[in-house]
Symmetry: C2
Subunit: 226 residues, 2 copies
């Protein structure tokens, strides 16, 4: 699976969030593409990039409850002429949105009045229109106030958002984490501890799998009885 | 009351809808301002225009469930630096949105999946953020298929949307219509018929006013008894 990050930010040099994400995105099969520095758009080149990737990420700071103008310009120009009526049902659309407000500001009754789900409706509608699978948005709240540990967790969450397939599946998440742990270069003592953690994770995954089988069996029996 | 129409359309010469609305908007105290032909924006001039008007209209064809990029660019640049934290509680924000789909496409369960209220959430959030009163959007569906009579009704509805204050009040609506009828230049026979209609409208308004007084009285008595 190949992932394309369409990053919209008019002042990326001032954005610690985007610089952090840019470093985190330096992994295999992930393409980082800055929209503001690609304007005016070469529409044919943009379409080729889009076609060449499976998971498309709209990534941006929330400006006036939407993306910066550059991303809208990209949508208006690239998703036009025939392209807007094509069906991309093997592609996925994800959103990575950074905000300067705490996460509870974007809930009904929060200080911003509307939930993030309502605010991002236009993007979900774009995904539906194009036949794409819409991924639950990854919201990054107040990056500047995050501790080092929170940033480390964000890094993992972000890399999973870019590369884990399918995205929301606990067993796949554990397999993803184990493969990441295997890639680490560690000293012998740490290696042994990590090995223990991986064994535990693997055992947990197997127990989980057994439980799911049992659950499925019970449900089937319930249906036969019912 | 002064009204500013911020019209966003990248190809206005091809838009019969916007040309029709431009003619309809040639009335007193209404300023028509094309955003696409004002780019790159003179931010200070745009802010002065905004400050100088009471009712601001974002007017555009629906592109990807939002406004064309030029309006977003206007928001990103004009509503920035201090301006984004000011309170404009004496101003109103309205939306005039044209769509190529029938109106029932933009309802939950409709072919576009989401309601126009959900789709326009980001604009309502902008109004709330700036302390402005958000007006119920005026949606123009499939203008090209409208009959002459439907277009005549749209013209009245649009002019009311631009100038009637307050917007959603039946008595004010009738007063608005009577003042419009008075401005018409008519032959003697038509004048007499229009005069009759106006008298009926005025009588109706007075009866409505009486009924509202009675209703208020009943409610007050109910509260005293309860």
């Amino acid at each position: 699976m190949k992932t394309l990050i369409l990053m919209a930010h008019p002042h990326v040099d001032n954005s610690y969030t985007q610089q952090f994400l840019a470093r985190a995105a330096q992994i295999e099969n992930v393409t980082w593409h800055s929209l503001d520095s690609s304007m005016p758009f070469d529409v044919a080149a943009e379409r080729n990039l889009f076609l060449d990737h499976d998971r498309i990420i709209f990534q941006f700071p929330l400006y006036w409850y939407s993306a910066p103008a550059s991303l809208k310009e990209w949508e208006d120009l690239v998703l036009a002429d025939q392209f807007d009526t094509m069906n991309f049902n093997e592609k996925q659309l994800g959103l990575v949105i950074s905000t300067g407000q705490p996460s509870d500001a974007y809930e009904r009754g929060g200080t911003e009045h509307f939930g993030m789900g309502e605010i991002t409706t236009p993007f979900q509608a774009v995904a539906l229109k194009l036949g794409m699978t819409f991924l639950p948005p990854l919201i990054i709240s107040q990056f500047a106030y995050q501790t080092d540990e929170e940033k480390a967790q964000l890094l993992i969450k972000y890399q999973r958002y870019l590369t884990q397939e399918p995205l929301n599946n606990l067993q796949v998440k554990i397999t993803w984490l184990i493969s990441r742990l295997n890639q680490l270069e560690l000293d012998e003592a740490t290696k042994q501890r990590v090995q223990l953690i991986m064994t535990e994770l693997q055992n947990g995954t197997e127990r989980l799998s057994d439980l799911q089988d049992t659950l499925a069996l019970i449900k089937r029996e319930g249906e036969i009885d019912g």
